[in-house]
Symmetry: C2
């Protein structure tokens, strides 16, 4: 059996994902010591107060010293600078990974700076909430969610197996694929949904004839579903779009073509085309629920006032 | 105080909304008798088995006979035919209303056929789930949600007050506005979000390089939030877009302009513009939560496996 326990886990960044890893790793006894690096005094203080790390450093170099597992949990735009800085301090045999939402750009940013005596295995847990910061994390975040590893040919089989076991122990299902394919898949399942959600909230905010207070009052008609992901961390998402530009532009092109076709059907009152489009999408949701990636409870299991339990009207 | 109790409530159609009204009206004692009309034997049988109506008729004319409150709960495209058919059977002093998601077209479809001896007051409860049919309804659906009435100048003050009291008794907050403004407000808060959600699910379904099973597996990255409203009733939504064409095309034009601007920012790597757009949208969600139209629990309060309660990680 693969030894999943690490001696020192170093988390570079301790936001929603980093702090959830800290909690889950502690809960499942996956590391003897858990440390983090964070830029601000405030974040380090919160992480220590929450008792999710044993030590918190300002400088990532201090965090990675002696660590056998190093995880980048900062926005992707910071990776290259950090990689250059920590490279000389990395312990022999360490596994270096990350949780970034793009993978091709991460390999370019980190890969060239890594010494030969470590294993670099890019990773992406497909999990999250709209909240940010060390207090927003929770140990259950990864349960039942997929974690995608995109190892390059340099990574050792043993290291890949150990990192997989680490994610599996936190409740994840692990998949491996090449970075380019990852970036295409995530463009449609994650990046475009976020872009569209940010966009419609912006459009609504700009209207002259409909007030903000009206949009807020009547948001239960559908709009509020979009505001959840549009409340996600702006720095992280800016970096996602800058670093997965090609795949995002490709998928966005398809999305807008399809939307133009629906727009035309509305203008020309082609009810059959609309009905056909609206019918095929139901099956998709059923499959997502069956795959355990969504709740079957109506309205996402939101509690309805007057109910005594979520999703059980 | 306004007398909110009706003698006979006739629901034309008994799907998600109609059956929720039946349940809430019964729970709060708002009608001595509750009857419905439904096209299929199956729907009538389910409504009777659920004991949410006292009688179920195939012909709407039989349902409205002797009713002092008649509510259209079928897709908007059926309204005109039904209005013509029931007009001669409507009781003197009856209130006729509806729950359609568009209001200008409803006034055109029903208004001209209504006799002088009734009060016609179009209405729209801004509430729903992605599920359809009589078994999907529940009495709590309208609690804390807005119901918009768009009375024309012909409607009596007393009748408007009674209908408002009826919705208030079921837990709704009631607003009145003119039909044209309603259609503009709902285009952005409900119709465009549905169109976009239907569209992206369609786009994902068509990809050659990303399999359906990959979209399903990694949908927790954001995509699954869109599938909820894309699972809504296709007939109802076809009619919404056909009957609110002008407002939808206007709002869609703004949405696509804004999206083109974001697309350009991605292409030219304008990180500042992206960050600015992604930052302004957070405040919107906070306000929707503060207004009681959304849960503050992360991830909509979805239960995370391993949690013992929804939204309390």
């Amino acid at each position: 059996m693969t030894d999943v326990k690490f001696k020192r886990l170093a988390l570079i960044g301790i936001g929603l994902i980093g702090s959830s890893i800290a909690r889950a790793a502690r809960q499942h006894g996956l590391a003897d010591e858990i440390v983090c690096a964070a830029r601000t005094d405030e974040t380090r203080r919160v992480a220590l107060d929450l008792k999710i790390v044993d030590a918190a450093y300002e400088n990532p170099v201090d965090a990675v010293r002696g660590a056998d597992l190093v995880i980048f949990c900062t926005p992707v735009g910071t990776y290259e600078t950090i990689a250059k800085a920590i490279a000389p301090a990395l312990a022999k045999g360490a596994i270096v990974t990350d949780v970034g939402s793009v993978k091709g750009a991460v390999i370019k940013a980190i890969g060239p700076h890594m010494p030969d005596h470590i294993d670099f295995i890019p990773g992406h847990p497909v999990a999250g909430t709209e909240n940010s910061g060390p207090a927003a994390g929770f140990a259950e975040l990864f349960i039942g969610r997929w974690c995608i590893l995109t190892p390059t040919k340099d990574a050792g089989e043993g290291a890949i197996a150990r990192l997989s076991a680490f994610w599996t122990a936190m409740g994840s299902k692990v998949d491996t694929m090449d970075a380019e394919h990852h970036d295409l898949v995530l463009a449609i399942t994650s990046h475009i949904p976020h872009l569209i959600a940010y966009n419609i909230v912006g459009t609504a905010d700009d209207l002259e004839d409909v007030t903000q207070s009206e949009v807020i009052k009547y948001s239960a008609g559908g709009f509020r579903d979009f505001t959840r992901i549009a409340a996600s961390d702006p720095t992280m998402w800016r970096d996602v779009f800058l670093y997965n530009k090609d795949a995002v532009l490709e998928m966005l092109g398809r999305f807008t073509e399809d939307l133009a076709q629906l727009q035309r059907a509305i203008r020309w009152e082609d009810g059959d085309m609309l009905f056909k489009t609206f019918s095929r999408t139901r099956a998709f949701r059923r499959q997502i629920i069956d795959a355990g990636q969504e709740t079957a409870a109506p309205d996402f299991g939101r509690v309805h006032p007057g109910d005594d339990s979520a999703g059980k009207p």
